[in-house]
């Protein structure tokens, strides 16, 4: 284990920004900042009169990393260089297809992901979000253990 103080500090700063984002969306529009809900509902249900804010949020979400890249990665990004802001995928197309399907189905029937259940649900002290967050964190840890240390794969 290596505790990289710079990475930890940037993690904390980034985390506070994410928290402020969720607070801002609640104070202004009264909405939960859950990405799977915002994006998933927009695509699968196309709710009339309830799509504009979703599009605006997603546009902002895309702009964030782009701004950091345009600033040469200099806005305190951990990697410190533009090319490394968006990291390389951990697996090939086949792995990512399976992973994407699981993430989609899972966040769909489980009503949320790391942002909706994690960032927003935990802050609301929601018992459902606490349980969901514990489950997906634990299962993800086991998955990585199996892939890296049991199967010995490169992912």
């Amino acid at each position: 284990m290596t505790v990289d103080m710079t990475a930890s500090l940037h993690g904390l700063i980034g985390g506070v920004l994410i928290g402020l984002s969720a607070t801002w969306l609640m104070i202004t529009l009264g909405r939960i900042a859950g990405i799977s809900g915002i994006l998933g509902t927009l695509i699968t249900a196309r709710p009339k009169g309830d799509s504009g804010w979703r599009l605006a949020f997603l546009l902002g979400l895309l702009s964030g990393p782009a701004v950091v890249i345009l600033a040469g990665g200099g806005l305190g990004n951990v990697a410190g260089q533009a090319g490394a802001v968006i990291g390389a995928p951990a697996g090939g197309v086949a792995t990512m297809l399976v992973a994407g399907l699981l993430v989609g189905v899972g966040t769909g029937i489980g009503s949320g992901c790391t942002s909706g259940h994690g960032v927003c649900g935990l802050a609301r002290l929601s018992p459902r979000s606490m349980a969901a967050t514990l489950v997906f964190l634990a299962v993800a840890v086991v998955t990585v253990f199996v892939v890296r240390h049991v199967m010995g794969g490169g992912a």
Binding site: L17, A22, L29, P65, V67, A99, A123, V144
Partner: protein
């Protein structure tokens, strides 16, 4: 308003390194060279938002909408926990949860495009099960 929220979110993800799946997987790999960064990200976000939500809820309604739209259910059921478990497997395989995956579109690669497409298919399937 929503654009500002999205921008803050995307900046937070990029600055904290969460748009790099290697860093996320480094956190999940507790038996390897453990990287605690994600703990600081989630901790910083939850604590900030905890106080932020308390401040927001002092108002009877949001600044630019008629009402706060909050989930009201408090019971645990199979769909919640089963869904969370499936999501956990997908997250562990890829190092991407929906936020970072979508936020990384400006650095799109073929595997990421495949993941996003499959994720959308998954959301459609979830509506039917």
């Amino acid at each position: 308003m929503a654009y500002i929220a999205g921008l803050l979110f995307g900046l937070g993800l990029a600055i904290s390194g969460m748009t790099d799946p290697a860093r996320v997987l480094g956190f999940l790999d507790v038996a390897g060279d453990w990287d605690p960064t994600l703990m600081f990200v989630l901790g910083g976000a939850v604590v900030t938002n905890f106080f932020g939500y308390r401040l927001a809820m002092r108002r009877p309604n949001p600044l630019f909408a008629s009402a706060f739209q909050l989930p009201t259910r408090r019971d645990l059921d199979g769909r919640l926990l089963g869904g969370a478990a499936l999501f956990g497997v997908g997250w562990g395989l890829s190092g991407y949860c929906p936020g970072p995956a979508f936020a990384s579109v400006s650095g799109l690669t073929l595997p990421l495009a495949a993941m996003l497409a499959a994720m959308v298919v998954g959301w459609f399937i979830a509506r039917r099960v």
